[in-house]
Amino acid sequence: MSKISLKYSTWFAFLLFIAVVFPLSATENGVATLLGEEIPHGFDPKTGKRIIPNERCLTCHGDEKQQTDVRDDGSPVKIFVHRKEIEASVHGEQSCNSCHVTIERVPHRKAPAVIVGCIDCHKETWDEYKNDLDGKHDRLKVVNEQIDSFMQSVHAQPSKLDQSQTNATCYDCHDAHNVGELGSIQRAEKRLKNPEVCGRCHEKELVAYKTSDHGKAVLEKGDSESAVCSDCHTTHDISSPESDKAKRAITKNCGDCHEDAQRTYFDSYHGQVHRLGYTNTAKCHDCHGGHEVKGADDPTSEIHANNRLENCKVCHTEANENFLTFWPHGDADDRENYPGLWFFKIFMQILIFSVMAFFWVHVMLWLYREVMDRIQGKGFIEDMDKPDIVYFRRFPLVWRWIHGLFAVSTMTLILTGTTLLFSHTSWAKAVVVFLGGVEMEGIIHRTAAVIWLGIFIAHLLIAISNIWRKRDEFKWFGSTSMLPNMKDARDLRDMFKWFFGKGPRPEFSHWTYWQKFDYWAPFWGAAVIGTSGIMLFMPEKTALFLPGWMFNIATLVHAEEALLAAIFLNSVHFFNVHFRPERFPMSTTIFTGAIPFEEFRHDHSEEYERLVASGEINNYLVRRPSRRADLAASFITSVLIMAGLALLTLVLIGLATSPN
């Protein structure tokens, strides 16, 4: 006996049992019989429910001439259902009372309670058909996702006025008799009706929307391409517009149509912090208005020149006229409209490319040369039998501290700054969360900036005072001076010769040309980043004497220069100091202040010769740093290198995934 017949045998036995014990064999058991009588035609043989042909319902509800009826209490009620609409709708094959479950017969004897259970039916139907391969019910998957969204939405919450009802339910918005297939005319029509549907409850918003460009396009011109409520507010996942979730969703949704505006917005400071989840910044609707959004030419528009400053003042309470020249959607790629911005971008990019190109070539050749030397047994090799016990004192304590703090604050600035720059990345969002939000990140960035500038200035003062003290003997272009000189140019030339095996390694003085570059680069950086940073730090003060578009330029150069610094320091600087084979894995000199004597002699041979010749060498010889000091320096260096490499990675990810 097959499995199926087995099942039915048991059923039959059960039915027999039921039939014997109860004269009414319960209909839910599959066969509706009663006192030996089978259920008549017109009733579902399984459920026992009356089968009501839709035609029967439409006799009254499809009569165009009598679209309204009167309730028992005398009030009018609309009863009309458009026959063709329902037949063409996705529910066209359903029977009326499969949704209107309280209608068990027609004409209905009592005034029917309108009870329609959309959710269960769609869930059950999906559960039933989701494994079907014919794809006929695939759309139900989306429907169920929408249902889930709806259940989370404010519409599914109990109404404040009447706890027995939700704020809105399926058929408040969906005209279930007229749900079109994807791509159908009904759907286009439904789009056009969307504002009217939402406006049934959200009356004020509809009034405002009607005055907007969107509203006019949709309601007056019938342009279904223009924005309707659900384009911005979403269809089902609707939250209170006061919530961060809704604010983010709405801003994102503007970009579905206004792609360029959104791209340029996300390039702006406002857009960057918004994209990181911070909603308390200027968003589309803060400037353009929400429901009443209009073009800039319309004098009632919020972005009309006469009204715009008011918008700025919402946040920037002391904003002045100069704010008006700010380009909220400034596009550095748009040479025609924003030539100044474009120029700065090109300039900065040439700078970045040339610096990086030069130094990365420098790095690659150096690596090549040292590797080749090593293979040939040349170059600086540590003598294991005679470890250095004498070190050369290279940095006094103050410089060691200054470098350390400078490194930490720079890295902090890179981290917090690039999260903004690369706000599109998921790492940026994670970092923001880790740091405690965009506001906290701003505080950290600004604090690090103050420290950074403070150190820079402190260093200048110390350097100046040092020079002042030695003003009589200080040689401005001497071996210990940081000022570039002709030897540096010769060294650079000889270095390249050496790279290509065309000459010996140059004999370097106290400071090599690359060390001098490393030293002077932050002066440029400090000027560019510092100035732009201060401007952005205090927009209202800046605007007192600078036009608004300076913020666009400041934002641009601040970012580009920071990018240059971040990449340079964490790649070229790291190679020159730590990663070239003679130094690998790291040099701790900047933290111990001392360099192994042999290493010094190798790297700075000209200075060594000079010190030996003048006998000054003895002034610089120190004992090897203690083991603890050595380990501590190694540890700190390692951490910083790791952090630097991590930052480099993040920056490169950001660049590689940049939407622009």
């Binding site: 039915y8 045998s9 039959f12 019989t33 030996g36 089978e38």
Partner: protein, 431 residues
């Protein structure tokens, strides 16, 4: 298996029956179907014939009835008032023939339960697998001295509708103005319990228009009768009953209503207390089961005992006794009751032929009486069988009489429903 339903069940069950059925009914294999012979072409017999064919067209049904046409007793009182003609209540058996029932015009003399054969006066023998006997009632002629079948030709009982009904009608018509009619009611049990009293009303209905001074006296050996309250109310409303000028009078047992003898020559009735003389006398004698029931040993006393699940005789299996002849307590002896019983018997016979247990029986009786042109009353009952006591009990809370003091409109409607009842009953038994 999935579509296993009742029909399949019956098919399989009847298939299974064939094996056992062949043993029980040897004729089955040879003939087209099992044979049922029906004795008597009244309500019970006709209904059984029609419903047997309806429930199982394989069954070979033969109905044996001496009369060529059926004249219904119900609605025959209306012939007395002139409301109807005798022709309007006379029907042929063509309808039954259309249902495939064979009509044999002969009188059954005896049923042989051993040989399972019905024997007619004409000497024919009809073998049967089941026999239905619905002979109606016969009279106890010896109950009233001086009254017999011969006297009844001139002093009619008119209790079998037909010739005597017409005779009685003519006697009333030719009765002098201010004449007197006496109806002698029978003792219980008798067929059509409200019949004598409706008859009085129908005669009064005629007299009211044509002989307003006439009197109708009912002599009754009982102290109570069917629908008594309604009759008294209707009589008084229509015919002044209870007043000095009442057209109808009723003398019950307590008043000496029991008639003991008749002198046909003087048209005088000897009742218990006094003598009554009349212009027209209608005697409805006491009753018992029809002749064939006695001839075939189906009676116990005056009536035929039956198992009320199937109306099968308790004396001879395979023979079902229906209608007035059977002891169907507590159902009255009425046309509707016979019709209802016939269907139960037919279903039981069909079930037996198909190897199934008989279904539980259900019965209804409705009975209308027409007291005037626009005055109808009814009694109704829905019954179930108490299987333990073999008594057909009226279901508690159901049935009963038309309400007293009903509106004229309701009484008028009951007349039209009475006509419907008549037409539908006739149609259901033989149409």
């Amino acid at each position: 298996m999935s579509d296993f339903n009742r029909r399949d069940f019956i098919r399989i069950a009847s298939g299974a029956t064939l094996a056992t059925g062949v043993l029980g009914f040897p004729g089955l294999l040879l003939a087209a179907g099992p044979k049922v012979v029906i004795v008597g072409g009244g309500v019970g017999g006709c209904t059984a014939a029609k419903y047997l064919r309806k429930l199982d067209p394989r069954i070979d049904v033969t109905l044996v009835e001496p009369k060529a046409a059926y004249t219904s007793c119900f609605m025959s009182n209306e012939v007395l008032s002139g409301d109807r003609t005798i022709e309007s209540i006379t029907f042929d058996y063509e309808g039954l023939k259309r249902h495939g029932v064979k009509i044999i015009s002969d009188r059954v003399s005896v049923i042989d339960p051993e040989k399972k054969q019905v024997v007619t006066d004409g000497g024919e023998r009809f073998p049967y697998d089941a026999c239905v006997v619905s002979p109606g009632v016969d009279f106890k002629w010896d109950a009233i001295e001086g009254y017999d079948a011969e006297v009844a030709e001139t002093i009619p009982h008119a209790w079998f509708a037909g010739k005597q009904t017409v005779t009685l009608r003519k006697q009333i018509e030719s009765m002098p103005e201010g004449g007197k009619v006496i109806i002698v009611a029978p003792p219980n049990p008798f067929k059509c319990p409200p019949g004598p009293y409706e008859r009085a009303a129908q005669i009064a209905m005629y007299c009211k228009h044509h002989k307003p001074k006439a009197k109708i006296l009912i002599l009754d050996p009982k102290d109570a009768f069917s629908k008594q309250g309604l009759f008294r109310q209707g009589w008084s409303k229509l015919y002044g009953f209870g007043t000095e000028n009442s057209m109808i009078e009723w003398v019950g047992a307590a008043g000496g209503g029991k008639v003991e003898a008749i002198d046909p020559s003087t048209m005088t009735l000897q009742a218990e207390i006094e003598e009554f003389q009349a212009d027209v006398i209608n005697i409805i004698p006491p009753q018992k089961a029809g002749k064939v029931a006695f001839a075939s040993d189906l009676v116990d006393g005056d009536w035929c005992p039956v198992d009320k699940m199937t109306f099968e005789s308790k004396r001879h299996p395979g023979i079902h006794v229906l209608g007035d002849a059977s002891n169907a307590a507590k159902m009255p002896k009425s046309a509707y009751a016979a019709n209802s019983q016939a269907k139960v018997a037919a279903a039981a016979i069909v079930a037996r032929f198909n190897g199934l247990e008989p279904g539980d029986p259900t019965f209804v009786n409705t009975c209308y009486s027409i007291l005037g042109e626009e005055h109808g009353i009814s009694v109704a009952a829905v019954y179930r069988l108490d299987k333990e006591t073999n008594v057909i009990e009226s279901i508690k809370g159901s049935g009963g009489l038309s309400p007293m003091d009903a509106s004229d409109e309701q009484r008028k409607r009951e007349v039209t429903y009475a006509h419907s009842w008549f037409k539908n009953l006739i149609h259901d038994m033989m149409g």
